[in-house]
């Protein structure tokens, strides 16, 4: 068993040594002897020496020779052991001048101060890891400076209250206080800091017992872990390893005092950062090596910092906002975005581009939808223009259709007049005449109504219509025109109704355009001008209408173009009639084509679906 020598016992001796200290004015050898006291396996000492070496080895211009010795005071102790250490060091460094001794830990400092007179008279000592209470007890021996730590138990309590709301119990876990390197002063601070709380004191107990006890702590409790160096049954290990074993069983969060204990399972607390302490100590040593007087190199104080373990916070459901002000959270699991930054950026970029593309396509779709919605209107307008253009063609038909009833009306009216003028008017006949006049008037009105229907601009509308009737009316309409142009017009319909869904005016227009087109095509032939309209039913699904003529036919190389807008072979044609016809047929879900008949002349066909 080791006995850590009480600092208190040292003070008197140090005071006696002080006047014998050497002046630091002379040039010092550029070498540092690092003495530490602890188990080299632990992360605490590893980090501390890393900080130390980082600064000492960082000066490339003036290479410092660093010697290191481990006194292993946590596992070995006693006068014989320390004496043998002294002898070992004395022999080992007899011919090696030492510029500065860095003493890590209170025990090391104590030994070093004792040995200095004999082994390294006048050599400055830079201590590290000396608690402020120990430092206060030390006073300020000559040629001694170093890094003082401030890690009060109150800090541990503050952290415990932060991580456990409504804290009412603390369990203290660690080796006996007098064996602690960093936390021995807590022993005295506990009563004040933990006042009002129930304290479960597991200090100095065996690991097996501790593991059992920490598994069954009450709800509003926290564990405060100082450091354990052994299981109490002969096995030694670094405090972080011991903490790992405890954390494995603990049912409550564990508040710790040193940063290297965080990964081992501590939730955090006000902790010391060994690498900072190491580099602080090294900087002080470098200043002395550089020639500063040790008296001028004031000790620096390192406060414990509030530092917490993100994993443990998650485990115990501690939110960041409940931590003390200025707290840092370490071991934070990188979020998905942090871990896969570039991949995420790429995915987001892809999504963004995709979204943009989708938005663009939706916009396009919207525009197309609008255009589609608009196109029947456009077609209707164009069809209307075309109908107005063909109105001239129809003027003779219209005149004839109107004059027929008007002729009857005039004759009847004059007859009635004469009858009424006679001495004995036959009123029955007058009544008959008036009835006829009325009927003929209605006939004339009907002609006007049909004409208006044909020439009015109306939106595309589908109705149930009889194709036979549409054809018959249109051919009737065109018969006057045909006789004027000396064209024989024949229509072959099929018996019964041909029910289709469509816009009657526009379908009439298609037939009219085709027939007028045929009549125009035959204008140059001297005789035998014939236009034949024919209806055929293709099964029960479609009706085919063909308009054939006895004209010169269509040049074979133009067959495909006849329906193109503005394609015309006529001097005064706009080339719009057949194009309109096709547009209308397509709007009726039909198709239209042109061909030359084997016996001469052109034939236009269109097929329309029958109404179900």
């Amino acid at each position: 068993m080791i006995r850590i020598i009480s600092i208190r016992g040292l003070i008197f001796g140090l005071l006696l040594l002080a006047p014998a200290c050497l002046s630091a004015a002379e040039r010092r050898p550029f070498s540092v002897l690092v003495l530490d006291q602890s188990d080299l396996r632990g992360p605490f000492y590893y980090q501390l020496s890393a900080g130390l070496r980082g600064v000492l080895g960082g000066n490339a211009d003036a290479r410092v020779t660093v010697y290191g010795e481990n006194l292993d005071l946590t596992r070995f102790g006693g006068a014989t052991y320390t004496e043998s250490l002294k002898l070992h060091l004395q022999e080992k460094y007899r011919d090696r001048p030492i510029g500065v001794i860095v003493a890590i830990g209170a025990g090391t400092l104590e030994h070093t101060l004792r040995w200095r007179q004999e082994l390294w008279p006048g050599t400055p000592i830079v201590f590290a890891m000396l608690d402020e209470t120990d430092f206060a007890k030390l006073g300020r021996p000559p040629d001694v400076t170093g890094v003082v730590m401030r890690i009060p138990f109150a800090g541990a309590m503050k952290a415990a209250r932060a991580v456990v709301p409504g804290l009412d119990t603390v369990a203290l876990v660690g080796d006996d206080w007098d064996r602690q390197v960093l936390f021995s002063h807590w022993d005295e601070e506990i009563p004040a800091a933990a006042a009002g709380l129930k304290v479960i004191d597991l200090v100095g107990q065996k690991m097996a017992d501790v593991r059992k006890r920490v598994a069954e702590l009450p709800e509003h409790s926290a564990i405060i872990y100082s450091a354990m160096f052994s299981d109490g049954e002969g096995t030694f290990y670094p405090p972080s390893t011991a903490l790992g074993m405890i954390a494995e069983k603990a049912n409550r969060p564990i508040v710790v005092g040193a940063e290297p204990l965080l990964p081992a399972g501590g939730i955090g607390g006000y902790v010391l950062l060994p690498s900072e302490i190491g580099s602080d100590a090294a900087r002080l040593a470098m200043r002395i090596l550089a020639g500063e007087r040790t008296e001028d190199v004031a000790p620096v104080t390192r406060e414990a910092k509030p530092l917490f373990n993100w994993h443990q916070m998650q485990r115990w459901g501690v939110s960041e906002s409940s931590l003390p002000e200025g707290s840092q959270v370490h071991l934070r699991e990188p979020t998905f975005l942090e871990r896969y930054r570039w991949q995420s950026l790429a995915v987001f970029a892809a999504l963004f581009i995709q979204a943009g593309l989708i938005a663009f396509l939706l916009h396009e779709r919207h525009l197309r939808h609008d255009a589609e919605a608009e196109s029947p209107n456009r077609m209707s307008e164009l069809a209307h223009v075309n109908r107005q253009a063909t109105a001239g063609e129809l003027s003779s038909s219209i005149a004839h259709e109107l004059n027929q009833p008007l002729g009857s009306i005039l004759a009847n009216a004059e007859t009635a007049e004469l009858i009424l003028k006679s001495a004995d008017p036959d009123l029955d006949e007058v009544r008959e005449i008036l009835a006829d006049i009325k009927r003929d008037d209605q006939r004339a009105g009907e002609v006007i109504r049909r004409l208006r229907g044909y020439l009015t601009r109306a939106p595309f509308e589908t109705k149930d219509i009889d194709l036979n009737q549409i054809l018959g009316e249109t051919f009737e309409f065109l018969s006057v025109q045909a006789s004027t142009r000396n064209v024989a017009l024949y229509l072959q319909t099929v018996p019964g109704d041909i029910r289709i869904k469509g816009d009657p005016v526009q379908l009439q227009q298609v037939i009219l355009n085709l027939v007028v087109n045929s009549m125009d095509a035959m204008a140059a032939i001297p005789y035998g001008r014939t236009v034949i309209g024919r209806v055929e039913l293709n099964g029960g699904s479609t009706a085919e209408i063909s308009i054939s003529d006895s004209g010169p036919g269509i040049p074979p190389d133009k067959l495909a173009q006849v329906f193109d807008p503005f394609f015309t072979t006529k001097d005064q044609g706009m080339g719009i009639g057949l194009s309109i016809a096709r547009t209308i047929i397509l709007a009726h879900k039909g198709r239209i084509w042109a061909e030359n008949q084997s016996g001469g002349g052109a034939a236009f066909h269109f097929v329309l679906p029958l109404a179900a």
């Binding site: 003779s396 038909s397 005149a399 004839h400 259709e401 109107l402 004059n403 027929q404 009833p405 008007l406 002729g407 009857s408 009306i409 005039l410 004759a411 009847n412 004059e414 007859t415 004469l418 009858i419 006949e429 005449i433 006829d436 009927r439 003929d440 006939r443 018969s479 006057v480 006789s483 004027t484 000396n486």
Partner: protein
């Protein structure tokens, strides 16, 4: 002038209206809904009459009926009545001998005037035709030799030339010529030539059956 008016129109209403009006004006009226019906039942040419004909009738059209009647030698004048008068049709029908070409609606005064003219012309045509028939009968009564002499005389040949052409003496021709004048009931050569002209002997050579249009 009384007469029988033949109304050919596919429009029932118009036929009825015409019938009423014309009957009121004192005419006899026969109506036909189609051209074919008139052809099937040809009107009596011997009573004064005329045809009121629509241009546009389903089946046989008005102008087509006109052609057929001309072929049949009808003397009935035709007055066309149409809802729409286009120039080609008008010219065609007038050239084919139509009495008039009227557009519906037509006022009674205009219509009756046209009918009166048509009836008068029918009477004239009929009497002309009677005279011609008489003259044709006289020509038919000539002997072949007398007919030969007649043809040559009306063409202005001298007796000597005719005798030479027919291979006989001038005296014989003189006797034939006297016979012809006697048989044809004319006093002078000028009268004979005029008669020949009316019969169409001059224009068509020996053909005496030519119809006067």
């Amino acid at each position: 002038m009384p007469g029988r008016i033949h109304v050919v129109d596919d429009d029932d209403s118009f036929r009825t209206a015409m019938e009423r009006r014309l009957k009121l004006a004192g005419y006899e009226v026969a109506t036909y809904p189609s051209a074919q019906q008139l052809l099937d039942c040809l009107p009596d040419e011997n009573e004064p009459g005329c045809i009121l004909l629509d241009v546009r009738i389903p089946g046989l059209s008005g102008p087509e009926l006109q052609g057929r009647l001309n072929e049949l030698g009808s003397t009935l004048p035709i007055v066309f009545l149409t809802g729409h008068a286009d120039t080609p049709t008008t010219v065609r029908t007038i050239k084919a001998g139509a009495e008039d070409f009227l557009t519906k609606p037509v006022e009674s005064a205009q219509l009756l005037e046209a009918i009166e003219r048509a009836l008068a012309r029918h009477v004239m045509a009929r009497s002309e035709r009677g005279k011609l028939d008489e003259m044709r009968a006289l020509v038919a009564a000539l002997t072949p030799r007398e007919r030969q002499v007649f043809d040559l005389v009306v063409r202005g040949r001298l007796n000597k030339q005719i005798a030479h052409e027919l291979g006989t003496t001038e005296r014989t021709i003189k006797a034939h010529r006297h016979q012809v004048m006697e048989k044809m009931n004319v006093q002078s050569l000028a009268e004979l030539v005029r008669l020949a002209e009316r019969l169409g002997v001059l224009g068509t050579g020996n053909n005496l059956s030519g119809r006067s249009p």
